[in-house]
């Protein structure tokens, strides 16, 4: 506990300094976080769904909503020539 005399902070307060054991514990926390973070990054890159059944259905509904929006349909119209050209190029060049 901080029972050191009220000198100018933080001078003369060895109890407020971080011990080597505490530093080690902080490093262990950071290490655990790093492992979890990397695991999650790998899962983000995997093809398998990370969503629950409810989330899956909601996400699919969002996509359906998006694809039926005016913005989406207008975008499809605008990019139609490019997509046609790309398709033809693939057909011709293989």
């Amino acid at each position: 506990m901080s029972d050191a005399p009220s000198k100018r902070w933080p001078d003369g307060r060895p109890d407020a300094l971080v011990s080597p054991e505490a530093l080690l514990a902080e490093e262990r926390l950071a290490f655990t976080d790093r492992i979890i973070g990397l695991e999650q990054q790998v899962k983000e890159l995997q093809a398998v769904s990370r969503l629950s059944p409810s989330e899956t259905v909601a996400a699919e509904a969002n996509i359906v909503g998006l694809k039926s929006s005016l913005t989406w349909r207008a975008g499809r119209m605008v990019t139609l020539p490019v997509r046609v050209l790309r398709h033809v190029k693939r057909r011709v060049l293989g």
């Binding site: 506990m1 901080s2 029972d3 009220s6 000198k7 100018r8 902070w9 933080p10 307060r13 109890d15 407020a16 300094l17 971080v18 505490a22 514990a25 902080e26 926390l29 950071a30 290490f31 655990t32 976080d33 790093r34 492992i35 979890i36 973070g37 999650q40 990054q41 983000e44 990370r50 969503l51 629950s52 059944p53 409810s54 989330e55 259905v57 909601a58 996400a59 509904a61 969002n62």
Partner: protein, 504 residues
């Protein structure tokens, strides 16, 4: 009826609850159910003679439709359940079901076979959506939010022992609470299953029956708590913290001052003064992680306020909120960590008991409080995650405003809670690696919540633990691109759809 429809109809049975409804309303509901493709021989109207002064009108209307009547007595219900050959039982409690109900719900069960019980959204007669949250067992104790249509696998109901006589008038709530307790999967089907009238008045003693069911559930769970009715169908569950564990309040500070309500105040001193003077929970420790430039007089005042409950820890490196909190967590000796900003003021005296009681519930990982701006508008009622970014539910709402499922009156599951005030067990904090150092300023609490949730535990918000948070509403959070990309590299796909605070 096509072969496909007939095959589908053979898999389902519908029970329509008539309590609180006129003969005309029951007829309308039954017609909609039949129109959805149910075989008339598999549609039953459940009549509770306790719930009606005169059941003659309902009975007459039902007979005209040619559907059977079931008495609400548990033995009758269980006998029918045993005799039924259906795979799924549709419990229609009110409203008018949508025409594609069968395909929608049975399709969901077929696609996700581990699901035992399903409920869904509805709309009002004017077409306003009534979205329901992902399955939220804590919220369910305070509000049966499951809506007009709840569907369960018949074998699951039988496996749970069927319907209970003591749960009369609240059978569905009781069934779902028992299903969750037994580890069965209860799932939201995020789609409209019915159109409904919004009626807030109690009928047939339903609200009281729900309270008794929740009390019995808490007793089965071994939870010490009291249940108070706030308004019809809405309850406050007050949890009594078990074992009175030590709570370490971890506050990072620079010892700064700000003008609050026209008065200059040293933030950390006033925050801790409020806690010391007002909090009813006593087994506390204050872990203050103070920057080297904290004024000495601030440190002295903290010592005077906290006495031997103070643990001062020096922070002498560049600003890093995450690292400061981790330092405080390491120094803490409590069983629970109460992560707290220094610019807060306690409003409710029992805020720690409220947060702690919830944190001790089965499946709960982290618990957050309701935070107000200085002008008493809401700053925080849980976080919402959508499109890979995070925001706050009910942000800027004025007092008294609420959504259709009474989220501002009920403890409930959320996507996350702000670390400006959050309680978590020390063991869990260490299990998930505390705050990530990769997010020194922003989104570190979002990451912490996601790590907690990835362990299968939930984040819970309580509107009964209230504090002021004197953070400017117009504060520029200065979110860096790197903050967002770091967060999204871990959780982007898990943060696309907000399904807890859908009406906020």
């Amino acid at each position: 009826m096509s072969v496909t429809d007939a095959a589908l109809a053979a898999r389902v049975e519908a029970w329509i609850d008539s309590a609180g409804h006129s003969g005309e309303e029951v007829t309308r509901t039954a017609q909609q159910v039949l129109g959805a493709g149910f075989d008339p021989a598999s549609v039953f109207v459940v009549v509770d003679h306790i719930a009606h002064e005169d059941t003659a009108e309902v009975l007459g209307a039902v007979r005209e439709l040619g559907v059977e009547v079931l008495d609400a007595d548990a033995r009758t219900l269980n006998d029918r359940l045993g005799a039924s050959g259906a795979e799924f039982l549709f419990m229609v409690r009110w409203g008018k079901v949508v025409p594609n109900l069968l395909q929608h719900v049975v399709g969901f069960f077929d696609r996700f076979p581990s699901t035992s019980v399903v409920y869904g959204d509805s709309v009002t007669e004017l077409g306003h959506p009534l979205f329901r949250p992902l399955f939220s067992p804590i919220r369910l104790r305070s509000n049966d939010y499951l809506g007009p249509v709840v569907v369960a696998r018949r074998d699951v109901i039988l496996g749970l022992g069927g319907f209970m006589p003591e749960a009369r008038r609240a059978q569905v709530l009781d069934l779902v609470l028992r299903a969750d307790q037994a580890g069965r999967t209860v799932a939201l089907l995020p789609g409209v299953l019915a159109t409904e009238d919004l009626t807030q008045s109690d009928f047939a003693g339903t609200s009281d029956a729900q309270r008794r069911v929740v009390e019995a559930h808490l007793e089965r769970e071994g939870v010490e708590a009291t249940v108070e009715e706030l308004e019809p169908f809405i309850r406050r569950v007050r949890y009594r913290p078990a074992h009175d564990p030590k709570v370490s309040i971890v506050i990072p500070t620079r010892g700064g001052s700000a003008e609050i309500a026209g008065k200059e105040r040293v933030l950390v001193v006033e925050a801790i003064r409020g806690i010391v003077e007002r909090s009813t929970y006593q087994n506390l420790e204050f872990v203050v992680v103070a920057d080297a430039e904290t004024p000495t007089e601030v440190v002295t005042r903290l010592e005077e306020l906290c006495g031997d409950r103070l643990r001062l820890v020096l922070w002498d490196a560049p600003f890093n909120f995450s690292a400061k909190m981790n330092r405080g967590a390491v120094a803490a000796s409590g069983d629970y960590l109460l992560l707290l900003n220094d610019d807060v003021e306690v409003v409710t005296d029992d805020w720690i008991e409220t947060l702690l009681g919830l944190a001790q519930q089965r499946g709960v990982g982290i618990v957050g409080a309701q935070l107000y701006f200085e002008d008493s508008t809401v700053q925080h009622a849980g976080q919402v995650y959508t499109g890979g970014v995070a925001g706050h539910a009910a942000f800027g709402w004025v007092g008294g405003r609420d959504d259709s499922i009474k989220s501002m009156l009920t403890d409930h599951e959320v996507s996350g809670v702000t670390a400006a005030c959050a309680l978590i067990s020390r063991d869990l904090y260490f299990e998930v690696g505390g705050f990530t150092l990769e997010l020194p300023g922003n989104y570190n609490d979002v990451d912490l919540n996601m790590k907690v949730r990835s362990t299968g535990r939930s984040a819970v918000f309580s509107p009964w633990a209230r504090l002021y948070h004197f953070e400017s509403k117009s504060r520029d959070p200065r979110i860096l691109d790197s903050d967002l990309s770091t967060l999204q590299s871990r959780w982007s796909r898990r943060m696309q759809v907000e399904l807890y605070s859908r009406m906020m």
